[in-house]
């Protein structure tokens, strides 16, 4: 049995959301819904997080940021797109600056509908994410080479994209 899913730490990023979903994400962490029952901790730090909770659509400005947060997170990791905008652009879909949902820049594991999303759905999504997290951890165990990030970077060139999107947002990480 995998241990990863018992401790899903999340990082929440607000794309170009109207803040409706963000308030609901916070509500999920308050005493009424108490996400910590499932071991959820809101880390605010990609290097500690297992589940990337994104709200809002993607535009040219936040695409590199979302990509960088995703790249900084360590495997196994799961992305949860929260709300209509994060899933596919929502009401802003046809705006000139919106690229679309989160899946236009990073692979998404769980889509949660709603405008705004309900705290119950967020908890559902995190629990769904936990299942995917466990599967990924199991797959990692099968292939121990996945565990060493430096080797992987050298052999496949993965994560090299962090440098490609250096537009000043990388300054903090270096």
């Amino acid at each position: 049995m995998s241990n990863v899913g018992k401790s899903p730490w999340i990082i929440h990023y607000d794309g170009s959301s109207c803040n409706g979903c963000d308030i609901e994400v916070l509500a999920a962490l308050t005493p009424l819904y108490d996400a910590e029952r499932f071991g959820v901790v809101n880390t605010g730090n990609p290097k500690h997080a297992d589940i990337f909770v994104v709200t809002g659509g993607i535009n040219d400005q936040n695409a590199p940021v979302v990509k960088q947060i995703y790249d900084q997170m360590l495997e196994p990791k799961v992305v949860v797109a929260c709300g209509a905008c994060a899933c596919g652009g929502g009401v802003y879909q046809t705006c000139y600056n919106i690229l679309g949902g989160v899946d236009t820049v990073i692979p998404v594991d769980a889509y949660v509908p709603g405008c705004a999303i309900k705290p119950e759905s967020i908890l559902d999504a995190v629990i769904a994410g936990v299942g995917i997290l466990d599967e990924k951890a199991k797959a990692m165990k099968m292939n121990p080479a996945d565990k060493d990030r430096s080797e992987k970077d050298a052999s496949t060139g993965a994560h090299a994209s962090v440098a490609d999107v250096d537009d000043g947002t990388n300054a903090d990480a270096e």
Binding site: D34, G39, N45, K47, H48, L74, A137, K141, S150, A173
Partner: protein, 294 residues
Amino acid sequence: MEIFGFSIWSIIGVIAFLVIAPFIGCILAGLDRKITAGMQGRVGPKLLQPWWDFRKLLAKEDATVNGAQDLYVWLYLIFIVLSGMVFFAGGNFLLCVFIQTLGALFFILAGYSSRSPYADLGAERETVQVMSYEPMVLLVAIGMFMATGSFYVADLLSAEMPLVRYLPLIFIGFLYVLTIKLRKSPFDISMAQHAHQEIVRGIVTEFSGRTLALVELSHWYETILFLGWTGMFVVWAGGWVAGVVAVVVALVIWFFEIWIDNNFARFKWETMLRSAWWVALVAGTVNIVYLLFI
């Protein structure tokens, strides 16, 4: 009975600390989160949540910022464990304090070595925390020597009266800096347990996976060591009764720390430094003068 010049009780103390301390530390950390949740009207995580967090961190991908960082974190763990071994073997308290400080310094170096602005700020604040609590901890050692004529923890077990009888004010001063040492609010300046401050998790920002797991493990050891220091104040030549009293007092103080953690907003570092030094000066001086006259 002696083995290689060490008494059998010293050896039992060392082995018990090495093996049992992380488990008790883990359960205490879980209890902390449970009680905190209760105080906030939540259900809270499972009691063994810190254990699952630890296992999860070990299973994560390895990504270390640089090699020096891992070395410093390992040294932090090793010196904390060494310090605890000296203490629970009934050894020299002063030596225990110095080794523990060395461990804390390696933790600060680990924070600095990651070269992240958040970790840098956290390391600076951790330095201020060490500066704040160190005078008071040394006064504990001085008071202990003046009261019993020995720095050896084992000698307390043959004392007629518990240390707190001679060092009441120093005990209160020690409880004040214990909050700083355990990094509890209002002194969770270098790193908060949860992300409720402006530098997220401060000194551990750049630590991830196995490195972060080692830091957690060190913190569990630290908790037990510091609660051991607390228990040290109330033991006397009372056999197992003294032991039970020490454990009960340590647990009550742990609960008290959780209560403080949940009831106070964070201080600025100036307030922490100034108040800790004032407490050390007043509590320490008055108590030492009192010791000179009895």
